[in-house]
Symmetry: C2
Subunit: 211 residues, 2 copies
């Protein structure tokens, strides 16, 4: 007896078109926000007709929600990789680097996320609670343990993470401003990487315990 709720596995066309639509939607939503984006824009960008898009998704909101759901995993991944058993300094500095690389490689995703939080997370509140919160608490505990062991300087782990998030994502979310102020500088990413490495490296170094 087949499960009444079972979904048939999607056809090749289904998979391709859903992917195309989501990619177009990422472009449009990240550029104009949820309310600013229109189905016509997404349809044009995807090379499909509007009703055809609504054949694959029940509505504008479902596209947006699907995008945010998929994004969440990617977004949290760098933090997931933070290893309690690794060297504290290396782990944290590598985390900064991964987040910065993500800002460069996935700016659309960064802006989509930023826009959603900026508007009060109307479509993502529950997911933040269920996915982000436990992970955040867990990693804060790891960092706190490292501090207790004297491996890195003592501070509030939560605000340390906020500082890592904000400084790295700034390069994606405020890219037009950064580009204007750094005008023509081709080495942007390397500069940012060097700066953040210096900053967090200095910050994490525990005050010399000797003497």
């Amino acid at each position: 007896m087949p499960d009444a709720t079972a979904k048939k596995k999607p056809s090749r066309i289904q998979r391709r078109n859903r992917r195309v639509i989501l990619d177009a939607a990422l472009d449009v939503f990240s550029s104009y926000g949820f309310r600013g984006a229109t189905l016509d824009q997404i349809a044009t960008e995807a090379g499909l007709s509007k009703p055809n898009i609504l054949y694959y998704f029940s509505g504008k909101e479902e596209i947006h929600t699907t995008l945010l759901s998929q994004l969440m995993e990617t977004w949290l991944d760098p933090l997931v990789e933070l290893d309690a058993l690794g060297d504290p300094r290396t782990e944290l500095l590598d985390y900064v680097q991964r987040k910065l690389d993500m800002a460069r490689d996935l700016p659309r995703e960064s802006r989509l996320f930023a826009g959603e939080i900026l508007r009060g997370a109307p479509h993502m509140g529950p997911r933040l609670q269920s996915d982000l919160k436990p992970l955040f608490d867990e990693k804060c505990a790891v960092i706190a343990a490292w501090m207790d062991a004297g491996k890195i300087a003592r501070m509030d782990p939560r605000h340390l993470i906020f500082s890592i998030w904000s400084t790295t994502q700034h390069y994606a979310d405020f890219a037009p401003q950064v580009a204007l102020l750094l005008e023509g500088d081709a080495e942007q990413h390397q500069q940012a990487s060097d700066h953040l490495r210096l900053m967090f490296s200095t910050l994490l170094t525990p005050a010399a315990p000797e003497q």
Copy 2:
């Protein structure tokens, strides 16, 4: 012979209603973005009718532009106050504090600004170029001079400023996320202040030159 382009000074009613409209618009634009905001929302929030609002402003865009223009001055003020003649450490740490206080006291303004940049600064590009850029360059030179004099640790002043902007504004722009992750913590602002003071204090301290 009176100047044909001269504007009569606005009446009491004019001043009051323009102020009421801009305040309502700040609420709505900062919550929903330019495209997401509607004139009806602004009108309701302001307690006026939609056509009445259009008596004071030529359209939705003019309200938004006016808001951004007014905001720019407020926004740049903390940086303007950075005094080349003051003590470098104190000046920079005070700057961080002023920006953090602004994130707490003017979250709507912070979100309005963030949203505009996030969408590629469609209504603010020229102002960034004309107002922000020169100020930024000037203060970068000041900071560079401090570094040359060995008063603070050497680093890229431009990325230092980015780090100050991002870490402080994060508390306004990502407030829902911060609130969720810090849940119920009443001391948020003081914690953030302490953390950022520690962070930038450590960062700016020049490596001991002796030995």
